[in-house]
């Protein structure tokens, strides 16, 4: 079990800056994020987009900002649990919190900070009959281990770059690759599309255009898919189906923790961004209060006020005196 002062759910800009603000007050942090990398929306949704409203940076690329924030947190040695979704939050008898993730990782902390942005990014699921029944039994929403498809027939669905890229990659591994796309063009990634059309021409990929997967069949494990295209209905046999329709943000398990929630956001007290549950704070895009603006710079401000308030749970016997970094510098935190 991981033990820390503050467990931060979400490693986007607000969560990362919270590490800095907490570190100044000698509080250790551990960040958990469902994405495999830090940076939240900055890295996942718009890494190459410029941001113009970070004070002191007339323009900064989103990924660059995430990298700079990581650099800024470095002296405070935060811990990271990435690629795991927080599932449960439990208050222990000694007043501390136990955070548990989808992979069974446990984090014990004195304070919980929810900096979950839009929520967890979950795969968009198409409307396919019996889809849920075969999840984990042939249906997956990401290609985690390409080797599992060696010698198998895999059907991919989607028209974005990940559907194209994986079709090309798996064409050399799987026994057979079928790509199903509801349109007849791939407008986002012309180079990858050209390669897919070439592979289809030489018979390495079966390409079904203007076609949808409508239902699945099998006894226990996926065995067949029913497609509907311009020539009507057809059945193809395959052991694997990977719908690749991108990710969409969902609030997820946070909804069930007893927090006051308004329109998928957590209500907070703007004095310190505390929630209705003692010891739990919410900062960044995930919170809501009168006048809320979903801006990174507002998340930074919220992180600073949160840290000042959270100090009382981590060091209940100490009095907090406010200090400027310009006067006192930054003291590295012992790991």
């Amino acid at each position: 079990m991981i033990t820390t002062d503050i467990g931060i759910i979400g490693a986007g800009p607000a969560g990362l800056f919270a590490v800095f603000e907490a570190g100044l007050l000698k509080m250790h942090c551990h960040l958990i994020d469902s994405l495999p990398q830090v940076g939240g929306q900055l890295s996942e949704i718009y890494p190459q987009k410029p941001i113009y409203d970070i004070p002191g940076y007339p323009t900064v690329n989103a990924q660059q900002l995430a990298d700079k924030l990581m650099e800024q947190t470095a002296p405070f040695h935060p811990g990271f649990t990435l690629g795991e979704r927080v599932e449960t939050l439990q208050k222990l008898a000694d007043g501390t919190w136990l955070i548990s993730t989808s992979e069974g990782t446990e984090i014990n902390c004195k304070v919980v900070v929810i900096a979950g942005g839009l929520g967890c990014f979950e795969p968009r699921k198409p409307e396919v009959d019996r889809l849920a029944e075969f999840e984990g039994k042939g249906v997956s929403y990401a290609v985690r281990n390409p080797e599992q498809f060696r010698g198998r027939h895999v059907v991919l669905a989607g028209g974005g770059d990940s559907a194209l890229d994986w079709s090309i990659f798996l064409a050399d591994i799987a026994e057979r690759v079928t790509l199903v796309h509801r349109g007849d063009t791939f407008r986002g990634s012309p180079d990858a599309a050209e390669k897919v059309f070439e592979l289809a021409k030489i018979g390495k990929i079966d390409l079904y255009l203007k076609t949808r997967v409508v239902s699945l069949d099998g006894a226990g494990h996926l065995e067949a898919l029913c497609l509907v295209g311009p020539e009507g209905q057809s059945i193809i046999n395959a052991e694997h189906f990977v719908p690749l329709f991108g990710l969409s943000p969902k609030l997820g398990p946070i909804e069930n923790w007893g927090l006051a929630i308004d329109k998928s956001a957590i209500e907070v007290n703007t004095t310190d961004y505390s929630t209705n549950i003692e010891g739990i704070y919410a900062i960044g895009d995930i919170n809501i209060y009168p006048g809320k603006l979903k801006l990174i710079l507002c998340g930074f401000h919220e992180a600073a006020l949160m840290a000042q308030s959270a100090f009382k749970y981590v060091y209940p016997d100490q009095r907090l005196t406010f200090k400027y970094t310009t006067v006192y510098g930054i003291t590295e935190l012992q790991q």
Binding site: I45, R124, P126, G160, G188, P243, G246, P249
Partner: protein
Amino acid sequence: MINFIVESHDGQHIPISVPEGISLNLMEVLKASDYDILATCGGMALCATCMVQVLKGGQQLASALDQELDMLDRMPASDDKSRLSCQIAVNEQLEGCVFKIAG
């Protein structure tokens, strides 16, 4: 005024009037009119939570750019009538159009 229609989930046609020269996109107008759309990415054509069907007048709108087309290609349930409302500028081209909020 620019006048267009939004079809509600139960099939009702609700007229919306917006002054000319307003610097807003359709997603912003729909949100301001209290329609239940998330628009989580804030208008960057990245989340597709503001998707609409253009039931009438699609051909009079400015064509979708690559990024919007890529996102629409990625959606499991979109067709030739689908657009991201955040990518539709509200101007005279919307006169008489009928939109339906997807989902």
